[in-house]
């Protein structure tokens, strides 16, 4: 569905030092430098996949999404999405994709969302009845019925984001580019949107490429991740495999019914944090069963849970130093 081969994108940027003298000098002699936003990026995404596109700020994620959605021209390399070259922006291509940017909006600011939906129905030339059915389904899933007649400027961020999604999905796109779709939303709203995105993918078979700084989005939605840094690919493969490589340990969270004896945690593994009522232990994956058994036998356990280390921590460690290379997990 998405094919990216040796994609590069560079910008010519004017640079000057601060101050009046530098400003005047730059009127006569301007200094430019080339900034390489993306370098030799290659990957393929199969139809129906949900892929997380990760990297630190300035890594080139949004630039790549904009190239894939036809907003930017690549400097070099080959990109196809559903068989189309995005920057040619053919009508059939634009009908088959959508780009949702958490920090930009397509809703008409002064009018109720229903007006944007009606406009999109006309722009995408959707049959009235079909569009109404899709709209009703999306409105019901996202529970935004009461918002349809309210001016967009009076909606909360979360309400607006839900309406943005409806506007972006009315034409049933086959490819969704989601750039920080949950940014600024509270935890409950994030969860609702994630469920909705997953539902859309499962019911329509749409391909999803998602960027997010909330690792919970990625963990909940994306079995596969593509990680880039400074415009270069540094990992492409299974998210769980990445987690295992970076942090082969599991986290065991122990909740105590009474204060455990001093030193009693030492035998279980590395203690990440502990208080009188709770301790978090880091244990090699192969020893989790033994550690849990020992904890249940030797400690006053009220509750116990086993999880992977937080994805934020793993990404921080990954992007901060260790580089396992591409995972080779591209389907």
């Amino acid at each position: 569905m998405i094919h990216v081969s040796n994609l590069s994108k560079s910008y010519r940027v004017h640079r000057r030092p601060p101050g009046l003298a530098a400003a005047l000098r730059s009127l006569v002699r301007r200094k430019y430098e080339n900034v390489h936003a993306i370098s030799e990026l290659s990957f393929d995404i199969a139809p129906g996949e949900r892929v997380g596109f990760l990297g630190p700020n300035g890594a080139g994620k949004t630039t790549a999404l904009k190239i894939l959605s036809g907003l930017l021209y690549p400097t070099s390399g080959k990109v196809t999405v559903g068989g189309f070259t995005p920057h040619e922006r053919r009508t059939d291509f634009l009908r088959s994709i959508t780009l949702v940017m958490g920090q930009k909006q397509q809703l008409l600011w002064d009018l109720p969302p229903a007006e944007t939906f009606a406009m999109n129905r006309a722009l995408f030339d959707l049959p009235k009845r079909e569009a109404a059915a899709i709209q009703n389904e999306l409105v019901e899933l996202l529970q935004i019925g009461p918002l349809l007649g309210k001016p967009c400027r009076q909606l909360s961020l979360g309400e607006r984001m839900k309406c943005e999604l409806v506007a972006a999905l009315l034409h049933r796109p086959k490819v969704l580019f989601l750039d920080e779709p949950t940014i600024g939303l509270d935890v409950s709203m994030q969860s609702q949107l994630r469920n909705f995105i997953r539902h859309y993918n499962e019911t329509t078979g749409a391909t999803i490429l998602l960027t997010s700084h909330y690792m919970a989005d990625v963990a909940a939605l994306c079995p596969r991740v593509i990680v880039i840094d400074k415009g270069r690919l540094i990992y492409d493969g299974d998210l769980k495999a990445l987690v295992r490589r970076i942090r082969p340990e599991k986290r065991i969270t122990l909740h105590f019914s009474s204060v455990p004896a001093p030193g009693s945690l030492d035998r279980l593994g590395n203690c990440v944090s502990h208080s009188e009522s709770q301790a978090i232990m880091s244990v090699p994956a192969a020893q989790v069963t033994d550690a849990v058994r020992a904890a249940l036998e030797q400690l006053p356990i009220a509750d116990i849970s086993v999880e992977d280390p937080p994805l934020e921590e793993i990404m921080r460690e990954f992007l901060g130093g260790e580089r396992p290379g591409t995972g080779g997990g591209t389907p």
Partner: protein, 247 residues
Amino acid sequence: MVAYRSEFLVWILSMNMPLVMMALWTAVAADGPVGRFGQRDFVSYYLGMFIVRILAGSWLVWELTMEIRSGTLATRLLRPIHPLWAFSATQLAAVPMRVIVLSPLVVVLYWVAGARLPLHDPARVAIVVAAIAGAWLLLFLVMAIIGMLAAYVESALSVFDLWLAAQSILSGFLVPLELMPAWVARVARVLPFRYILGFPVETLIGLESNATALRDLGVQWLFIAGALVATIALWRRALRRFAAFGG
């Protein structure tokens, strides 16, 4: 709502500049005609100017420069319709509202001040309609071209200010061109400004014969053809540059 009302008021006032010029020139002509313009001719001329501005006005340049600089043009680029079609639809949709709001004023001026709008000849009406449509299209395309410069220069609106300065003199907006020195009027005939305002107004109030108006209509549409070619060529190039302002 207060913001909308005040914005609306500012718009009405800015549309009324021809009426200010009308008052000024009718006062000047009180002592006798200026060229072949008597008081009634000035009323007709500036009422015609007012009508042409209602029907053929555009604000594309402000919208386009703002959208390029802020990156919001991206939203339009994702829709399966060319952004210039979408812009043109928005702007044309505003014409009926302008007509409804401002037509009472036109009617009052027509009856009270005794303007002349000789539109009895169907051929003349057809030329006037084509001239006003052409004026709208030419201004729209010029604004598109200058607006797209926002992808290249930091202040495309300053370029448009230069255009406006030249247009106010060479289009007949401030002074009817035939009252200008002969060489200015000659120069104005070969520049596009007159075909945005002066020409449709002169045709509307019957200052030109049908034959002359038809010839000028041809010139107007030649300018439109040139502007269209420039718009298409510049649009493609500007989109490549839009990268830097992607937002």
